[in-house]
């Protein structure tokens, strides 16, 4: 199997070889400052975090200087101290009309910083800009000065609580929008990464940032996102959760149609797959659209791990999902209807455990599940120190006392415990699972396996009707996109994932090379994906 994939990979590489040679398509730095500005505007279109400072100097201020950097990733103090101040302080004294002499002055004496480079190509300049350096263009010169003013480190970001991973970055988003934008920019150093800021909410005037990679994201989806965001008619946006409810395709479904994440590396991966992110000021949760069902059983760690292991974990997650939905229902159906299915020995065990329980299994299951959900909710709301006490109470009440008191059978306790554990394995679907479980339970009590089947088929029908930003929710399974199965339940190794999900319909489908043509090619193969 891998042999074929490797072959295709080679083909794809070959196909894009010419693109690599053509890496400097931006051309050399034009001599005219106007042209430079135009080029920059073109390259960084829709990048609202780009800062271009224009300074006049020379005789009569005839010579213009552009200081270009990206807000947030530069150390502003350093920038002011090393670049802006020297220029403003010394340049007025230079009364020259010759641009090259100004250039000399700048590079030799004025700029204090020790980290100065000279570049001649536009793409080099752009690369330095997006990686956090300041670039100085001088009118009349076909070269530019690069001053290293990278912010030594990002802001203090913490590991997110809600999404932990064994492997991979521990950086999580914070509440501050600019910081979040920087965090993304730091991972994807590319002018194609577009960040458009808009304000939403009549009263709150919350800053929203739509983030996507031009050329990878489907233009239609980007347009659709903007349109739906524009249609939001409310005076308060406090969290992305509110946006999520406004922009979802089907507003009543229990299943998440918009993804959210707190992790930078995960988001970067989603962006590189061609998804669109929506960042909102004031919340660390970043939305990604379109969101498909399969994403809920994918985890960021999967991509950093051995493919076999990751595939196994995904199958396990699917199993857990099914178990947490269906196990209580199956149990009830078994003990209430389908006695013919139970082998004799098991029958004795089951019947013995049922003896003396005053409730029918359905009520018993209902009680136990509700008790568990209560405990879970209490655990979330409770201040953390009290959580310990709560878990003790829960363990004793649920685990032992109810059995000892003859309220619940010990088997039912096991069933509910397994159900609970399984439901935690697939966090994005916890809420959907929680409610659908009751539906299955009721159906099982009504018509046994047949009832469960009717309910399952109904839920499947519902899933089939869902779409997320026009993409069928159950893709790549239904409609079957054989192409995208490589990253579904079974995951192929990362080096074999040559193409991006086809269902998202980007223009540029092959991973690697083309998107990052201006970087060193091998480094550019984005092995990182969320």
């Amino acid at each position: 199997m891998f042999g074929r994939i490797r072959e295709r990979y080679r083909e794809a590489k070959h196909k894009f070889a010419n693109v690599r040679v053509d890496a400097s398509s931006y051309g050399p730095i034009p001599g005219k400052i106007k042209a430079v500005q135009a080029r920059l505007d073109e390259i960084f279109s829709q990048c609202n975090d780009l800062v271009i400072k224009e300074i006049s100097c020379g005789k009569d201020g005839r010579i213009k200087i552009l200081v270009v950097h990206i807000e947030g990733i530069v150390d502003r103090r350093l920038l002011n101290q090393d670049v802006i101040h020297p220029i403003l302080d010394y340049l007025p004294s230079v009364q020259s009309e010759d641009s090259s002499s100004i250039y000399q002055q700048l590079s030799k004496c004025i700029v204090i910083s020790s980290d100065i480079k000279e570049v001649h190509e536009m793409w080099q300049a752009v690369n330095f800009i997006v990686s956090g350096d300041a670039v100085i263009f001088i009118d009349g010169e076909d070269r530019a000065l690069v001053v290293g003013v990278k912010s030594p480190e990002g802001r203090q970001v913490e590991e997110p609580d809600t999404e932990t991973s064994i492997r991979g970055s521990r950086e999580g988003f914070v509440e501050n929008l600019p910081t979040n934008m920087v965090l993304i920019r730091k991972r994807i150093k590319n002018p194609d990464l577009k960040m458009e800021i808009m304000q939403l909410g009549e009263r709150t005037k919350t800053d929203i940032c739509i983030c996507y990679i031009k050329g990878l994201a489907n233009e239609e989806i980007v347009r659709e996102v903007k349109e739906r965001l524009g249609k939001i008619n409310t005076d308060a946006i406090l969290d992305t959760g509110i946006i999520e409810q406004y922009i979802a395709d089907n507003r009543l479904t229990l299943f998440p149609l918009v993804g959210n994440s707190e992790k930078c590396d995960k988001l970067a991966g989603k962006l590189l797959e061609g998804r669109v992110a929506i960042i909102c000021d004031g919340t660390p949760y970043v939305l990604t659209v379109p969101y498909l069902f399969i994403e809920s059983i994918q985890a960021t760690d999967d991509y950093f791990d051995h493919a076999f292991f990751a595939s196994f974990m995904r199958l396990l997650r699917l199993l857990a999902l099914l178990t947490s939905n269906l196990l209580p229902a199956l149990y009830v159906a078994l003990v209430v209807f389908h006695h013919t299915v139970i082998p004799f020995k098991l029958m004795i065990t089951l019947a013995a455990s049922q003896q003396g329980i005053p409730f029918p299994p359905f009520i018993e299951a209902l009680l136990m599940i509700i008790a568990f959900e209560l405990l879970r909710e209490a655990g979330v709301r409770m201040p953390r120190p009290i959580g310990q006490a709560l878990s003790i109470v829960g363990a004793i009440v649920l685990g032992e006392a109810s059995v000892a008191a003859g309220i619940a059978s010990n088997l039912m306790v096991i069933i509910v415990a397994i159900t609970a554990v399984c439901s935690f394995v697939v966090p994005p679907l916890i809420r959907a699972t929680m409610l659908i479980r009751f539906v299955f339970l009721a159906a099982a009590n009504f018509l046994g396996f047949l009832g469960i089947m009717v309910a399952v088929v109904a839920v499947f029908t519902h899933l089939c009707t869902l779409r997320s930003f026009g993409i069928p929710y159950l893709a790549p399974f239904s409609p079957l996109t054989a192409h995208d199965l490589k990253d579904s339940l079974i995951m192929v190794p990362i080096w074999a994932m040559i193409t991006r999900p086809k269902i998202l319909r980007q223009q540029e489908n092959v991973r690697g090379v083309k998107g990052s043509k201006r970087q060193e090619v091998d480094k550019g193969r984005d092995s990182q994906k969320g």
Partner: protein, 391 residues
Amino acid sequence: MTVKKDKGRKALLILLLIFPLLLAGCWNNRPLTEINIVAGMGLERTEDGKILVTVQVAEPGAIQPASAGGGSGGEKSKPVFVASNEGETVFEALRGMLAVVDKKLFLSTAQVLIIGEKLAQEGIGEILDFFERDYEVSYLVDVIVAKDATPDELLRIESDMDTIPAVYIKGTVENTAARGTVKKTLLIDLFKDMDCKGRQPTAGQITKSSDKEVRTEGLAVFRDGKLAGWLNPYETRGFLFANNELKGGIVNVPVDNGKAAFEIIRSKGSVSVEVEDGKPSMLIIRVNAEANVGEYGSGGRLDSLETLYMLEEKLGEEIGKEIEMALEKCQKEFASDIFGFGIYLHKYYPKCWKEVENDWHNIFSKLPADIRVDAKIMRVGLVINPVGKGE
């Protein structure tokens, strides 16, 4: 438009979901605590021609001490109880039993179905119909025919070996079936053969050996749905050899001045009929058996190939003798083709079968037989020569 539609679908879904809730728990809904788990069943004909049904019901609470709470009550109760009731039909007798027992009887878990000798002699065809028709009966119940004892007696024994006597009986059937002295007969086998003219049904035999023990050995032979007679354990084994149903067993062979015992490892048997001029002329039985030496008490050495070949021949003869005994009994005494020669005829000589079909019992019992057994001894065990015969 889309939103409206979505709302509509959602509402329908909700309707679909709430509907079951409203009607929760009707009709076939029956918790496990409200059924009696039947472990064994017995059928017998009473003196006045009615059908006596006996059931052995397991009491789960007594078998597995219930969860801590309910434990105190169930200390002294017996693991099973036996109830019987008579009626005109099986179904009536079973349903009538509800007047005696507390909960509905659940038949699917039955481990054994014991048929009384008297009932078997009068015919089991109409009795079996209930079991075929009822949706809760498992087709995979072991059927055995009681000899010299009523099913009632057998189900009422108190075994020391298993808390549930029916499980104990089933266990003995499995054991003897592995030894090759009883044929493990499932309900479905009876259904299949009952209607088939080319093969007569058979079932295992069970007798009561003491107050606490049963013995399952031998075979009940039916003819036209009625019990025709019994085969003893050796004949049973012969029958199984021929029918390719032998799973294993020990065959004793007299050698020189002692006996040798061989363990059958594998055996392949086939029956066929030779047809001449459109008429069946000869019954043919072929058996290929593989055996190991299990015990060699003849006092001779075993390390020569000649001895081994001689033993193979004798083993073959011995097996052939058993088959011959079984066949002869079926031909001469019962006139019942339990081997399935008729099926063979039907499959490969349909025209010939059409002619003999209705008189098959008679034709079968008069046909000569050709039995050939090819026995092979594969291994001799951990030692080669017996004690005292080494170099």
